[in-house]
């Protein structure tokens, strides 16, 4: 598909806009506006997959000396969601980010920084500091430099429609191909991008597979991470032709600081 965009201009109300259409719909267009506030990075649009942060290759101001990396502390927030952002590392300027970190309370190596687990004791506005321990001590004992990468976990599921609604105002049954593992999607954000309920965004608070792949939803927009939110779907109900995106990167995700605990190896 050929996309056509006009020039970008600023309006009198200080908004940056651009008109867009494509070769299939040449006589129509949308006028989109840039909003600089943080936005969800969805999977179904491909934007989440492009998320990529690579720090400098850190030699701890001593490039020739070997070090051991003990932990990497990351202070983050994700609004009560499973963030979908995972951390990896490369050593000695290899640019090969094969190094991973162990799971911990606030971090899953497959699903990312987890403020859902933390939600029971923290508000959505709190910063969470998680200590990440490299899964392999070997790779962190003979390094001269260390480089971190944050990327999309890609652990969710998207562009499928709801199998059925449960009759409950806060749960639904995902498509048949969804995970067989109970609790797998818990904490992940879910966004309905097409069909009934279009535009609505929730958190999966519970995922059960015993009687179908039932996801219970709540919303954290009210700042409460623990209430039942029993009426989340009431105002904007979904149906079997509602298409979803689970596990994208929520707009609340942010990193405040990164601390690396290391020790210089003795000089032999």
């Amino acid at each position: 598909m050929a996309i056509y965009r006009t020039n970008m201009i600023s309006t009198k109300d200080k908004k940056l806009i651009v008109a867009v259409n494509n070769n299939s719909f040449q006589s129509q267009a949308n006028i989109n506006q840039w909003d600089d506030s943080a936005k969800d990075l969805y999977q179904w649009t491909g934007a989440a997959n492009e998320f990529n942060i690579q720090t400098k290759d850190i030699d701890f101001n001593n490039p020739s000396r070997r070090k051991k990396i003990y932990r990497v502390y990351v202070t983050f927030k994700a609004g009560g969601y499973m963030s979908g952002v995972i951390a990896k590392y490369a050593v000695n300027g290899s640019d090969s980010f094969t190094g991973t970190f162990n799971d911990t309370t606030y971090y899953s190596a497959t699903k990312g920084f987890d403020s859902f687990n933390g939600s029971k004791s923290n508000s959505t506005a709190d910063w969470i500091t998680v200590g990440l321990k490299p899964t392999s001590t070997l790779s962190t004992t003979k390094i001269k430099s260390f480089q971190l990468k944050f990327e999309f976990a890609n652990a969710g599921r998207h562009s499928y429609s709801v199998h059925s609604t449960t009759g409950n105002v806060n749960s639904l049954t995902l498509d048949a191909g969804a995970s067989e593992t109970a609790g797998y999607y818990e904490g992940m954000p879910i966004y309905f991008f097409h069909g009934p309920g279009n535009g609505s965004r929730y958190r999966i608070s519970n995922y059960a597979v015993a009687y179908g792949k039932i996801a219970s939803l709540d919303t954290v927009d009210d700042g409460s991470l623990t209430d039942a939110d029993s009426t989340v779907l009431a105002s904007n109900p979904i149906a079997t032709n509602s298409y979803y995106d689970i596990g994208f990167i929520p707009k609340e995700f942010a990193i405040n600081d990164i601390s690396i605990v290391y020790r210089d190896k003795p000089i032999k």
Partner: protein, 996 residues
């Protein structure tokens, strides 16, 4: 060795891919994709452009342009990449532009323009007082040239100056209808006149009224499209205005000539000012100030040797000769013989005052002259009226002992009913020596240096910025030649006035002798006195009358007591079309001629309704055939034979009324006035002088005018008060009620006007003001356009400049163009202003130009800093930012900074400049960021860079402008996060398709 902690708390350095990842700063990143570091100490997710634009208008209503934008029927091939969008604000909305008969509301309103092919649709954010928003389809029509491929799509270039938005197709698009013409075109029709062309039927169907076409190099405007049958075959017909957009009407000798459709620069402007009455309207028009045209009738019609304003006392009469259409002007010239300027000196006036002498303050002798109206001994009603001390009078006709009074004298005093002059008093004079004299007031004598032949012409004054106006070229007038020569028309010579009835046409004899009792018709110098001449006929013989043709007649009656007169052409009496006169004043009419070959004009005197015999004085008679010819040296206005000043008058229609959306007598609302010029015919060789001398300066905005040959006084235009109707009425559709005139007595033409067209404009009349352009910028209220096309010729590396506040006039006179560097082989792609400076971008290089009152000075040139497309440049609060394959640049008004120089290698900075799918730069004022969209770089097909002007950080982005479907929905244009407004715009307009 103790453990240590290495902390990274700052991230605002952004990407640095120039240095080795190990050597960049701690706050910099090797990669920073779809992340934002503009919030100090945090990494967050970036914003995006997936929201449908929405705003709150002046009425506090939510307004978003998601409605009829889905009806861009001319936009085959889709939007033009990198072009088409423009936003502006105005203190009025566009109410009425669609509705036709409503006025815009005084509401601060934001507008968005987008091109729908060669048309411009405009979104009005607050279209009415209820706060509703509206897309106005085809608010501006540049033409119909728009092709599907990106390189041939319309590329609108906009600028807003003062009250108007201008737009030009930077593609200079044209479509050729090969061999469309079915006939040759001669050059007998001058520019601005219409002609009907015979063309192929299928080609006619592809054209529209109002569209501009080109045949060879001549541009024409289509004003009508029809069909005709030739030899049993149906053909199309085009009625066109010749010689438009600065071109000349010439012959086209190929009867299978191509017709080329073109787009022309247009303006949509809000006119909110008086035009005699209040005017509040949006007006679309071709951008250049087109000169008056001769469509339908002559732009300026000059009636020589007579009067066109019919009046009785101070009332305008409906017979006044005025144009049939607005934007046309009638003008008359006659030698000044009116009572107002010409008087008689009498020995004893009707009040008993006699000529006398007295002594002045210095002992000089003073003669007290009783003056009266011509033909009587009565003191003028308004005495002293025009007489003032210091003026001069010219006395003629004194005889015998009174001869010393002849000559020019200064008025040294005024008595109760006498004019005092300082002169040695004659002696021995009698009443007979005095009573045939004439007295002419100063100023009513034609200056000797004005005694030449002239042609006349008219220009329009279009609105400009501030109080400035933009003057069009001058269109030469058409003249209506008088049937009766000047001196005969005012009875200063007898000529063909029939004096003996010898031609058998019914005219009466003894015109020269009223008889001993004074009854009959008596021809005097300057008039015919009629007394008890019932059923007598005053006649003028000529062979120049065409049976059945229309003629204008004009008869001036200086005094009237009783009876009536019947004026006819080519016949006598009231058997056919004629003009009835039963009052003093000037009487005019358009009447058809009868069939008597030798009768020019006849005036038959009859008793009036009360049975009273005719008693009146006729001062002038004139007849014109109702078809004019363009003025030239051979039919020029001849002022050489005039003994007194000429009198001129103007008449035109103007009242801005509309019937529903149709204009009645409104002028093009952009026109604020007109000027009438005179150009001298060279006595040697019969050529024409170079200079157009400004004769009339008419302001229809203020309702005033200045006659420069009379003096510099501002006078008030006279709004019609046609007898039997109300005063001039802005809503009346009756033409006569919309007649506007100069003063009824006429304006004295006595001095050579000093102002010229060139003095007023800075360039000569005839200078082409039309240009197309690929870019524009405004500096110090002057518009600069770049990469221009003038006529058939393109100038890729040339800038042109308008004069201050003349935003639509680009004179091609050799002094309004700027060639900064003509030898670089490069072409201008963008002009951008910053303060009093102008950056001229070419494809490979950029030039910094300082604009001063004296002109333009080159301050710097920046090789490698050029751009391929205007969308690669954006103005920010920090300065001008632009991007090309070499990097990202910021000019802050003082110095140039290549922002990417210390962060990206040449290979890493990939934006892949391409003219057909240009790089886009936009400035988000709220975040102070420049968004850079690289449309076509492999792997980042909707990605680009984000440059934070506050921190200097650059990050990369991908898929933040469109929602690219990963599995299905091939038809999706773009997404919107919220339900309600169209989330997916589908071709059938019925909402999103279901996934399959």
């Amino acid at each position: 060795v103790p453990k240590k902690v290495y902390k990274i708390e700052a991230f605002e350095g952004g990407i640095n891919q120039l240095g080795d990842p190990r050597d960049i700063d701690d706050n910099q990143f090797e990669e920073l994709f779809n992340a934002d570091v503009s919030r100090i100490g945090k990494i967050t997710l970036p914003g995006n452009a997936l929201q449908i634009y929405s705003t709150t208008n002046i009425k506090n209503e939510t307004a978003n342009p998601d409605g009829d934008i889905n009806s861009m029927g001319n936009n085959s091939g889709g939007l033009t990449p990198g072009y088409g969008l423009f936003a502006f604000s105005h203190d009025f909305n566009m109410q009425g532009l669609v509705e036709g008969d409503n006025n815009p509301d005084a509401l601060e309103t934001d507008f968005i323009c987008i091109n729908d092919g060669a048309h411009i649709d405009i979104w009005d954010s607050c279209h009415n007082t209820a706060g509703e928003n509206l897309w106005i389809q085809s608010a501006i029509k540049m033409g119909s040239v728009h092709l599907d491929s990106n390189d041939k799509k319309v590329k609108p270039i906009y600028y807003k100056a003062d009250n108007g938005v201008r737009v030009c197709d930077a593609n200079f698009g044209q479509i050729t209808l090969t061999g469309a013409m079915n006939e040759e075109i001669d050059d007998s029709v001058v520019a601005g006149s219409e002609v009907t062309l015979n063309i192929n039927l299928t080609d006619a169907s592809s054209l529209s009224i109002g569209e501009y076409i080109k045949i060879d190099s001549e541009i024409m405007k289509i004003i009508n499209i029809g069909t005709t049958i030739v030899d049993g075959v149906e053909h199309g017909t085009l009625t066109v205005l010749r010689g438009q957009f600065g071109t000349t009407a010439v012959a086209h000798t190929n009867n299978n000539a191509d017709i080329v459709k073109i787009n022309v620069p247009k303006i949509l402007t809000h006119i909110n000012r008086p035009m005699l009455e209040k005017l509040n309207r949006w007006v679309e028009d071709i951008q250049m100030p087109e000169p008056p045209n001769n469509y339908g009738e002559s732009a300026l019609s000059v009636f020589r040797g007579g009067k066109i304003l019919a009046s009785s006392s101070s009332t305008l009469l409906s017979g006044t000769i005025y144009p049939a259409n607005p934007e046309k002007v009638n003008m008359s010239f006659i030698e000044a013989v009116d009572d107002d300027e010409e008087f008689v000196v009498v020995h004893t006036n009707a009040g008993g005052t006699t000529i006398s002498t007295s002594s002045g303050n210095s002992g000089e002798q003073i003669v007290n002259l009783p003056v009266s109206t011509v033909g009587s001994t009565a003191v003028p009603d308004d005495f002293p009226g025009p007489f003032t001390i210091g003026k001069s009078v010219t006395i003629t006709g004194m005889t015998d002992d009174a001869v010393p009074l002849n000559g020019i004298h200064e008025i040294v005093g005024l008595g109760a009913d006498v004019v005092k002059i300082a002169v040695e008093a004659p002696t021995g004079y009698t009443e007979a020596h005095i009573d045939n004299s004439r007295l002419y007031l100063e100023g009513e004598v034609l200056s000797d240096d004005l005694k030449n032949k002239y042609i006349l012409g008219m220009s329009y004054l279009y609105d400009g910025g501030g109080s400035e106006t933009q003057e069009s070229d001058v269109t030469i007038a058409h003249t209506f030649d008088p049937i009766i020569p000047q001196q005969e028309s005012v009875f200063k010579t007898v000529g063909n006035w029939d004096t003996d009835g010898g031609d058998g046409s019914g005219f009466d004899a003894n015109l020269l002798d009223a008889g001993s009792d004074g009854d009959g018709m008596q021809l005097l110098s300057g008039g015919v006195v009629v007394n008890n001449a019932t059923n007598k006929v005053l006649g003028y013989t000529t062979n120049n009358i065409t049976n059945g043709a229309d003629y204008y007649v004009s008869v001036n009656v200086s005094s009237y007591t009783d009876g009536a007169a019947i004026v006819a052409v080519g016949q006598v009496g009231d058997g056919a079309e004629h003009l009835d006169i039963s009052s003093a004043g000037t009487h005019t009419a358009k009447i058809a001629a009868g069939s008597t070959a030798t009768i020019g004009v006849s005036i038959k005197f009859v008793v009036d309704g009360d049975g009273n015999a005719p008693s009146l004085t006729i001062n002038s008679v004139q007849v014109w055939k109702a078809t004019g010819t363009e003025m030239s040296a051979t039919n020029a206005l001849d002022l050489r034979t005039l003994t007194s000043a000429a009198k001129s008058s103007l008449s035109f229609l103007c009242n801005n009324s509309r019937t529903s959306s149709a204009q009645n007598n409104s002028w093009n609302e952009r026109i604020e006035g007109f000027r009438i010029y005179m150009k001298q015919v060279d006595m040697m060789g019969g050529g024409l002088s170079d200079e157009f001398l400004l004769l009339y300066d008419v302001n229809i905005k203020d309702g005033t005018y200045i006659c420069r040959a009379k003096g510099g006084d501002i006078e008030t235009l006279r709004l019609s008060d046609i007898a039997g109707g109300n005063d001039w009425n802005a809503t009346s559709t009756t033409d006569a009620r919309a007649v506007v005139t100069t003063n009824l007595n006429g304006d004295s033409i006595k001095n050579v006007p000093l102002l010229t067209y060139e003095a007023e404009n800075g360039y000569e009349a005839g200078t082409n003001l039309a240009a197309m352009y690929k870019t524009s910028a405004i500096v110090q209220r002057k518009v600069y356009i770049g990469n221009v096309k003038i006529g058939e010729r393109t100038f890729p590396d040339r800038m042109m400049r308008s004069d201050i506040d003349r935003f639509d006039s680009f004179p091609n006179d050799g002094t309004h163009f700027i060639d900064v560097a003509t030898s670089d082989g490069d072409s201008i792609t963008k002009l951008e202003s910053i303060g009093d400076k102008l950056i001229q971008f070419k494809k490979k290089i950029a030039y910094l130009i300082k604009v001063t009152t004296e002109g333009e000075e080159l301050e710097a040139n920046w090789p490698g800093a050029g751009v391929l497309s205007p969308s690669q440049v954006v103005s920010t609060t920090n300065g001008i930012v632009w991007a090309n394959n070499n990097g990202l640049f910021l000019y802050n008004g003082e110095e140039l900074n290549q922002v990417t120089a210390d962060r990206f290698t040449y290979n890493e900075w990939q934006i892949n400049e391409n003219e057909d799918t240009p790089v886009l730069l936009g400035y988000d004022e709220k975040s102070n960021k420049v968004i850079i969209q690289t449309l076509n770089t492999a792997g980042t097909n909707s990605g680009g860079f984000i440059y934070d002007l506050s921190t200097g950080a650059i990050t990369q982005s991908q898929k933040l402008f469109n929602w690219y479907m990963t599995n299905f929905y091939e038809g999706v244009i773009s997404g919107q996060e919220k339900i309600g407004s169209p989330i997916y715009v589908k071709g059938n307009g019925e909402g999103p398709e279901e996934p399959t």
